[in-house]
């Protein structure tokens, strides 16, 4: 769950780039990922991909959608005030003006952001007019509308003045957003928000045309009618009849159970865009539930690339051992941590020594092997992925490091002896609290394989768990319901929404984020007794729940422009969490694997969405979309 983030160097770099862009005029630049590189990637062809399931949570309606695959496509379909270049690694997490002509004018108290839009950026068909600041404001009004369930709304409610997520209709204007003319938009904030520019890169803030969207009042409905503000449009957009709400039929290019197809937006002007390469003429993503088939098609050449499906081990084996195939296997940082979460109000995990012992005993190498080895990721030594902290903690920081990452029984037992749950001080958890603990897990590989490793590790310190394997969404829903008091879970992972540590910390470790259902602060860090009674749970007697809320606030005060200090602050917080709070046993920093075919002449990874970058890749197939 969750998406992107990262650190940002802002004003100076943005200005410099704007100057450079103005001077050079168009054409994004390649990132650093593998694949054949040419000086000028050839244009044309269709990027043909397949995915086992879109997994859209809001029907592809940008206002509410939060699935990463959607963001891969939104990068081609929409433009936002600020955007990344959709390339790999740290460079791919930097944010630049996209619809905005320049970096914004920010008031000295950090509460007022003034943007000027680039002139003459047109909507895609069937519309025939320029994008205005009112279209951008309308997108925010939709976010603010309760029935539309903006799943990232919490990044704006209480941040932008007048946005509380309770509006009944998107026609309600927001007091904190001013549009004095068609080219200007001003945001007034409630409090200084260091990562506000990053939040303006989210697809929900992309402009939306009122004349089309006003017909779609329920969450998800607009998803089949998305009008393009970017270099590509949904195939068949030009045929959309917008004369009345009744005359509109879903755009042919998106069939939620079959495929999504994008073609070039004829109204798009490359000269206004220095972030995207836009080499291919079309992008197609088909649903193919047969994962093995996806990879054989890529190998055969009938598909150009996989998307989010990870290759099964036999396929991986083939690609790792065949020298001809190996360059086509791309492994990029997913900016995501997979972890075991421990509930601070359920014994025995209410005792910090037990939690530390769990960190010492865990056979992380075994879990990595279950996943498929280093191609799939690196063993996690602390909570936030290194790239998210801009490596501030350093690669040597491994507070619970053990030989070969197999776990250290001696150290774990030493730790356990200090716990109240080891009554005879033999280093093993004894007593009723140590057994029959429900452990939630997913019901697919590699989690089911990893489960065996975790169960065996915990057994060594006397903790016996009862694994419950559920489908991914059910697994999440179960641990997100505070009342369920799930002691320990293996299914959880967290990836950035945007490139800033706060996108991790806020939802995962801040006590004020705890809610009754849909809660992502699984350990319940910072839970107060008022909250406890509100949610129908109780804090065990004799247990104090520490909170890091103050640390979070301190770090949030530091603006993005001071990236170094900001990242260092969050890195220190991660250290404190690992050593003094111990909410999790982090075990993997995932890599996302993309397998490309021989027709791909330029591969690029989109660090923002975590999958392939459709606006920066090039192919040499001569396919067309009819």
């Amino acid at each position: 769950m969750g998406k992107r983030r990262q650190s940002v160097r802002l004003v100076g770099l943005a200005l410099a780039l704007a100057l450079v862009a103005a001077a050079c005029g168009g054409g994004g630049d390649e990132g650093s990922s593998g694949g054949n590189q040419q000086t000028a990637p050839e244009k044309g062809g269709v990027l043909r991909t397949a995915i086992s399931d879109f997994g859209f949570t809001n029907g592809f309606d940008p206002t509410g959608e939060y699935v990463a695959v959607a963001f891969t496509l939104y990068g081609a379909l929409t433009r936002t005030l600020m955007a990344t270049k959709h390339i790999a690694d740290a460079a791919g997490n930097e944010i630049f003006p996209d619809l905005a002509a320049d970096a914004p004018e920010i008031s000295s108290d950090g509460l007022k952001y003034t943007f000027k839009l680039k002139p003459n950026i047109k909507w895609g068909p069937p519309l025939d007019r320029n994008i205005t600041s009112k279209d951008v404001a309308y997108a925010f009004q939709r976010i603010n509308t309760a029935p539309l369930v903006a799943q990232y709304g919490f990044y704006y409610f209480g941040v932008i003045k007048g946005m509380d997520g309770k509006a009944k209709s998107p026609d309600t204007p927001i007091s904190g957003i001013e549009t004095p003319d068609d080219q200007t938009i001003i945001f007034n904030l409630e409090k200084p928000t260091g990562d506000f520019l990053q939040r303006l890169g989210m697809a929900a803030t992309a402009p939306i045309p009122e004349e089309v969207a006003k017909c779609f009042k329920k969450a998800g409905d607009y998803g089949r009618y998305v009008i393009s503000s970017g270099p590509y449009m949904l195939q068949g957009s030009d045929k959309l009849d917008i004369s009345s709400c009744d005359s509109m039929k879903p755009i042919a290019g998106f069939d939620p159970s079959k495929s999504i197809t994008l073609v070039r937006n004829p109204n798009y002007d490359q000269a206004t865009d220095n972030l995207r390469g836009n080499y291919v003429d079309g992008i197609s993503m088909k649903i193919d539930t047969n994962i093995d088939d996806i990879f054989s098609q890529v190998e055969a050449g009938t598909l150009d690339s996989s998307v989010s499906d990870q290759p099964p081990k036999p396929v991986l084996q083939k690609y790792l051992t065949d020298q001809n195939l190996k360059p086509n296997l791309h492994s990029n940082s997913g900016d995501r941590t997979w972890y075991i979460t421990m509930n601070w109000i359920t014994p025995p995990f209410d005792d910090i020594h037990v939690r530390k012992a769990a960190n010492w005993i865990m056979d992380k190498q075994g879990i990595l092997q279950a996943w498929g080895g280093t191609t799939f990721g690196d063993i996690a030594t602390h909570n936030l992925p290194p790239i998210v902290l801009a490596d501030k903690l350093g690669s040597d920081y491994n507070p619970y490091g053990t030989e070969g990452n197999r776990g250290d029984e001696a150290k774990a037992k030493e730790e356990m002896k200090q716990s109240k749950y080891d009554t005879n001080k033999d280093g093993v958890c004894d007593g009723a609290a140590c057994s029959n603990l429900v452990m939630i897990n997913r019901n697919v590989t590699p989690w089911t394989d990893a489960e065996a490793v975790v169960v065996a590790s915990l057994k060594k310190i006397g903790i016996s768990v009862k694994p419950r394997e559920l489908a991914s969404s059910a697994a999440y829903t179960t641990i997100q319901t505070v009342k369920n008091k799930i002691p320990i879970a293996l299914n959880a992972g967290w990836g950035k929404d945007y490139a800033d540590p706060y996108a991790f910390v806020g939802a995962l470790f801040d006590g004020r984020s705890i809610i009754a259902t849909g809660n992502t602060n699984y350990p319940l860090i910072g839970l107060t007794s008022e909250q406890a009674s509100q949610f129908g749970v109780s804090i065990p007697s004799g247990v104090t729940i520490p909170s890091v809320d103050a640390d979070v606030d301190a770090c949030q005060k530091i603006p993005n422009t001071d990236a170094d200090q900001r990242n260092q602050c969050f890195a220190d917080l991660d250290k404190k969490l690992m050593e003094e709070a111990v909410p999790w046993v982090p075990y993997l920093w995932a890599k996302n694997i993309t397998v490309t075919g021989k027709t791909v002449t330029k591969f690029e990874f989109d660090q923002f969405s975590g999958y392939l970058s459709v606006t920066q890749m090039a192919v040499n197939n001569k396919e067309t979309i009819s």
Binding site: G59, V149, G223, T289, D293, A471, S473, I515, G518
Partner: protein, 321 residues
């Protein structure tokens, strides 16, 4: 006769109502998790969850939801007739995907049925005629093997041998026949055979048993005495009597299969309604589960009804039971 049919039709409706209400209870009442939360995104506010619940129609009391559902099935909803609601996952009408899915399952079921009839019945007949010979023992032995073997194991073994090792089969998955007839055929052959083997074995054993029993009857002896050739005796008299129960059984089996040959569809990754329903259960996409349950229940009970009508037509005693 008509009274019988009408009575049975009414019974079909009753069965449907009971089955769907049980399904409703299992999926909507029993779970302790709220489906709305699954689809409300991350960190949903309670208001957002409420909105999703309203969108999904989950804010009304369960009995009202159930009655609305029944009303929609019979009279249609905003997406047309029959009103099967909209899928939580794709947020598009269930009806739209339904036909494609049923088509795949139908292709699997009918194709397999043709195969198993073509294999099973002749083998059964031959075994009955050549009773206690090596042919008989061998074929009944093989039949026993296939009756006992689990379908998913046969499927996996089939894949391993014909796809992985011999490269004769293109592997799992489904290709629509209008997209490429040869691809469609090559993908369906292995699932057809695997599914058919079980039923072929069963039908072979049954045909053999029935034919042997029929051949022991008096009227067969009479026919023989009358001077008919053995071949005529078997094919004209023996088969008709022994195949009648087989024919009705085909109806029942097809009805059940159309309910979704879940295991076969899962192993071979065919997008039929069985696989769809199972995936939807795991995803929490309840409208799909309900829709499939309704259709399956209808298919099974209608098939039972047809079979019973045929029986009643043939045997008047049954009608007055």
């Amino acid at each position: 006769m008509w009274r019988y049919i009408v009575r049975r039709l009414l019974w079909v409706v009753v069965v449907l109502l009971v089955v769907t209400s049980i399904t409703y209870v299992v999926f909507f009442v029993m779970p302790s998790t709220d489906p709305a939360v699954t689809f409300a995104g991350k960190n949903p506010t309670p208001e957002q969850i409420e909105e999703v619940r309203r969108n999904f129609g989950l804010d009304k009391p369960v009995p009202i939801q159930y009655l609305t559902f029944i009303k929609h099935v019979f009279f249609g909803d905003q997406y047309g007739w029959p009103g099967l609601g909209f899928s939580y996952s794709t947020r598009s009408p269930v009806k739209d995907q339904f036909f494609d899915r049923v088509l795949v399952t139908a292709q699997l079921a009918v194709g397999a049925a043709l195969v198993w009839l073509a294999i099973g019945i002749p083998i059964g007949i031959i075994s009955a005629i050549r009773r206690r010979t090596l042919t008989d023992r061998l074929s009944m032995g093989i039949a026993l093997f296939f009756v006992a073997a689990p379908v998913f194991w046969l499927g996996l073994m089939g894949l391993w041998l014909f796809w992985f090792k011999l490269r004769w089969s293109p592997g799992t998955g489904y290709v629509a026949w209008d997209q490429s007839f040869t691809d469609w055929l090559s993908h369906m052959i292995l699932p057809w055979i695997v599914l058919a083997m079980l039923y072929a074995a069963f039908y072979a054993r049954m045909t053999r048993g029935n034919l042997i029993e029929t051949m022991g009857q008096d009227y067969i002896r009479t026919a023989r005495v009358k001077g008919l050739t053995e071949r005529k005796v078997i094919f004209k008299h023996g088969l008709r009597a022994s195949l009648t129960p087989v024919v009705t059984l085909i109806g029942l089996d097809l009805g059940a299969l159309l309910g979704g040959a879940v295991i076969t569809e899962t192993v071979f990754n065919l997008q039929g309604i069985g696989q769809w329903a199972v995936a939807s259960v795991f995803q929490g996409d309840l409208p799909v589960v309900l829709a499939v349950t309704v259709v399956v229940a209808i298919a099974v009970t209608m098939m039972n009804l047809i079979v019973d009508i045929v029986y009643a037509y043939l045997d008047p005693r049954v009608r007055y039971n």
